[in-house]
Subunit: 136 residues, 2 copies
DNA sequence: TATCACATTAGAATTGTTCTTGTCAAGATA
DNA sequence: TATCTTGACAAGAACAATTCTAATGTGATA
């Protein structure tokens, strides 16, 4: 998430301590946190932090393209501060999500697109992470 | 979803009218229905149908590999009775999900797998469906 | 048809997310 | 720096999706 404080301000948004804390937590975070993960982490420094602020901020960042909302976890929303297109490994045991650097060249023939205007693609490799392999 | 009534019984499950109605609705359904879609459809014939029955049945079918739970819709669980591996087109406007017949040969080098035991993969092509293109 | 394990129902409970309302503070302006 | 205005915040209520609970009902087998 390349989002400096200046960029932030320039886009007409107020830079509040709460938002800075959320940004700091997201910056470089590769754990694909849920809203609750963000909330729990940021609350340590801001005990009065509200869930609404977390959701509002994430929603705003999403609208501005600064974070991406992930699918792949059916139980909760997960967010990725890495906005460069990339794919994921997903553990079906613990729902851990790991970034993939591998690139794939995927194209769909027009005949297969069902009239869709394709904007992007995302590959989910599913399997068991090392921890979950050990447990079973 | 190739699941005949005989297979159903043989696997030690009771075949109730409610379950038959759910199975009938799922059979050949390409709309990737949510639990509520199933509920609403089946309730027409079984006005006493309970949501719990829908969730229980879907969960059971999932456990037995007769349906697949989809990611791709962050707001609700969606189910696919087509258990043959295939990929999807997803409309970011209305969350319509369309099956793709196109096959891709995706392999990950061991070095890229982060120790995961890979079980499968799934590609989501995102974009706007024809209806949503018209609306914007 | 009697029995029993399992399925069903209705609604309560839980979880994740969004909305509302009153208050407050960041950044702008003078 | 003092004041103003707009948007952000906190707290909790509301909402939506899903899961659980307890009581009742029913399919399959003998």
């Amino acid at each position: 998430m390349a989002l400096s404080q200046e960029q932030y301000r320039e886009s007409g948004l107020k830079l509040t301590p709460q938002r800075m804390a959320i940004l700091a937590y997201l910056e470089g975070n590769i754990l694909h946190p849920s809203a609750e993960d963000v909330f729990r982490a940021v609350r340590r420094r801001f005990p009065t932090m509200s869930f609404a602020t977390v959701y509002n901020t994430l929603e705003m960042l999403k609208k501005r393209g600064k974070v991406v909302e992930l699918t792949g976890d059916p139980d909760k929303k997960r967010f990725d501060p890495n906005i460069r297109p990339h794919h994921h490994l997903i553990c079906t045991g613990c729902r851990k999500i790991v970034d993939l650097k591998t690139e794939f060249n995927l194209t769909l023939k027009a005949a297969d697109q069902a009239g869709f205007q394709i904007m992007g693609n995302h590959i989910e490799f599913t399997g068991l992470c090392p921890d979950c392999q050990r447990k079973r």
